[in-house]
């Protein structure tokens, strides 16, 4: 029987303004696939519903299986999580959902805002496969502003590009990155010509993450990125734009969707998204994001 699990908190740190990284010790780590999520229970008894959070990474820490979550504080539940200290426990369900299908050689991973964390696990999983090299994993990260996070870690497993809607190169907050990497900020996609990139070889030497002002789509266009498959997670307008781009270019794309959830396991029908074909559960056109998803083929969903 499955049950509500209890994990011990190993460590928690702030990565950036309001963005936290939480490591949990749990055997569930051994089951987790990229694109799946955990549903975490707040301790406050008035907050009864679990909070879905994507699995950012799994690893062994001191010989024990562990899951890492990276989340943004947006309300009472996540605010509570951010106060949890090592040694305290947290209850959760999971891993839940289907996850990303992995097979293609050259992949473009697109993460927007708090949709970036699951891309780390996907990139790491790809790097662990023999046939794919770091160059075959292109990662585009989209941020609101200079509050970046996870850039240096993503750079270990793939070639990373950045986009920020409001950009000021001196103000990047990803502390690890500031120490390890050099930026080649591109002020705006439209100005790419005046800030030429010297190509991948040069980048490897410096380890720089080139940034463009604008959205992830602006970055894809500015850096002329292409691949055999696209994986994306982020806000709905971004997913819409990625879907259109993928259809236009004829690249198969997998989108990870977000919807308000109650049960997290497929019971309540709260979290549905509109689909092109009838769903297997209710025979209408409403798939459950928590069960049939959160990852869907781009042409499968109506955004």
């Amino acid at each position: 029987m499955k049950h509500k699990e209890t994990a011990v908190i190993i460590k928690q740190e702030a990565l950036s303004d309001g963005i936290f990284s939480l490591w949990l010790e749990t055997e569930a780590a051994t089951l987790a696939k990229p694109g799946q999520f955990l549903s975490l229970y707040p301790k406050n008894a008035a907050r009864l519903l679990p909070r879905p959070i994507s699995i950012c990474e799994t690893d062994k820490i001191n010989g024990k299986s562990a899951i890492r979550l990276v989340y943004r504080v947006v309300g009472g539940g996540t605010a509570e999580f951010s106060t949890f200290k090592p040694g305290e426990t947290i209850d959760f369900l999971g891993p839940l959902g289907n996850g990303f299908p992995e097979n293609a050689r050259r992949a473009l991973l697109i993460g927007g805002g708090i949709g970036i964390p699951p891309m780390l696990m996907l990139a790491k999983s790809r790097a662990a496969r023999e046939q794919s090299s770091r160059e075959d994993t292109l990662i585009v990260t989209g941020y609101r502003d200079n509050n970046t996070f996870l850039l240096s870690e993503l750079s270990r497993y793939g070639t990373v590009y950045g986009a920020a809607e409001q950009l000021c190169a001196d103000l990047f907050t990803d502390r690890a990155l500031r120490n390890e990497l050099l930026f080649i900020p591109i002020r705006s996609a439209r100005q790419t010509e005046s800030f030429p990139l010297d190509g991948a070889s040069d980048r490897e030497k410096t380890g720089a993450v080139p940034f463009t002002e604008g959205t992830v789509l602006d970055a894809i266009k500015a850096f002329e990125l292409s691949a055999d498959v696209i994986y994306a997670c982020g806000p709905k307008p971004m997913l819409k734009a990625v879907k259109d781009f993928a259809l236009e270019k004829g690249i198969p794309a997998w989108l990870s969707l977000e919807e308000r959830m109650a049960c997290g396991v497929g019971v309540c029908l709260g979290c549905v998204c509109e689909t092109a074909e009838p769903d297997p559960h209710s025979l209408v056109t409403n798939k459950r994001v928590c069960r049939e998803g959160p990852v869907f083929a781009a042409e499968e969903v109506i955004l």
Binding site: A45, P50, G264, V267, C268, L269
Partner: protein
């Protein structure tokens, strides 16, 4: 020790049931609890044809509970009978099928389709606040409730449980109408119509604007309503609304319920109904209760 209860001639091995819409057709939570340990499983509402349900957001949390406006999304009676009912029939538990419709004819058609199936009891949902037509309209008017109960009773092969809405001025009057029309049992409460506003977006949180409130937040209201109905009618009562523990279940039983249904708390703990059965047994041991039925309506 006796834990079994009788609802309209159907014996349940214990008084703990799952509440409609909070347990699907059992499949998902069967991975988390042994359905054989439950008195009965009540299914999600089933209509004549597949229903789309409402736009999202359909659910949101509120203090001590949640709002839902699912709008009765379901695959329709045909798929329910060929796929979902056989799944539940594998288990040694009773099956209560929750029936919904937009017109009297639709309710009757579903009830008739269920007549030669493994369904043990039918729960008639005349109290869903989240669909525009039918449903709650039947449950908020005494005469309409009487009429539909009478019609369904004529056609139903299984005993019928009328599920009452709390969104009425006098719930005991509704219970009396069901009894007069020949209902075999009543269940209550369905969700309480409610609303949540997003003050940053200055809009409604739910796409449907309103939703049904459920969870511990509604329990005191539900206990009071079960008590009022128990005083007004002789029908067996299935009590529900915010039950989270065996202590909560006992409040409903003492107020007059023969059985109880455990609902949205499953979203907080997918094993909760089974846990409540175990905790009830412990209570009976500790307080030397020989028969759970002794407690039904013991508070007057």
């Amino acid at each position: 020790m006796n834990l079994s209860v009788n609802i309209a001639g159907v014996t349940l091995k214990n008084p703990v049931i799952t509440a409609s819409g909070t347990f699907g057709s059992g499949e998902e939570y069967a991975e988390y609890q042994d359905l054989n340990g439950l008195g009965a499983v009540t299914t999600k509402g089933v209509s004549l044809t597949p229903w789309m349900g409402n736009k999202t957001p359909r659910v949101t949390e509120v203090y001590g509970g949640m709002l839902n406006a699912i709008g009765l999304q379901n695959p329709g009676i045909d798929t329910f009978i060929t796929r979902d009912l056989p799944f539940l029939s594998q288990y040694d538990t009773r099956v209560i099928v929750n029936v919904c419709g937009k017109t009297t004819e639709e309710y009757l058609a579903v009830v008739e389709r269920l007549s030669d199936t493994a369904a043990d009891l039918l729960e008639i949902n005349v109290s869903c606040p989240n669909v525009k037509e039918g449903a709650i309209a039947f449950g908020q008017n005494r005469d309409a409730l009487f009429a539909i109960t009478k019609e369904i009773k004529k056609k139903a092969r299984q005993p019928i449980i009328m599920k009452l809405s709390p969104n009425v001025t006098n719930i005991a009057e509704m219970a009396k109408a069901c009894e007069a029309a020949g209902a075999d049992a009543i269940s209550l409460i369905n969700t309480i119509t409610a609303m949540k506003i997003d003050i940053y977006k200055r809009s409604f949180v739910l796409a449907n604007k309103t939703g049904g409130l459920s969870g511990p937040a509604i329990k005191p209201v539900a206990v009071r309503m079960v008590y009022e109905c128990a005083q007004a009618v002789k029908l067996p009562i299935i009590g529900m609304g915010g039950i989270a523990t065996a202590e909560d279940a006992l409040e409903f039983i003492m107020a007059g319920a023969s059985a109880v249904a455990v609902g949205m708390i499953h979203f907080h703990d997918p094993n909760r109904a089974t846990q409540i059965v175990q905790d009830l047994i412990q209570y009976m041991n500790t307080y030397h209760v020989e028969d759970i039925n002794e407690l039904t309506g013991c508070v007057r």
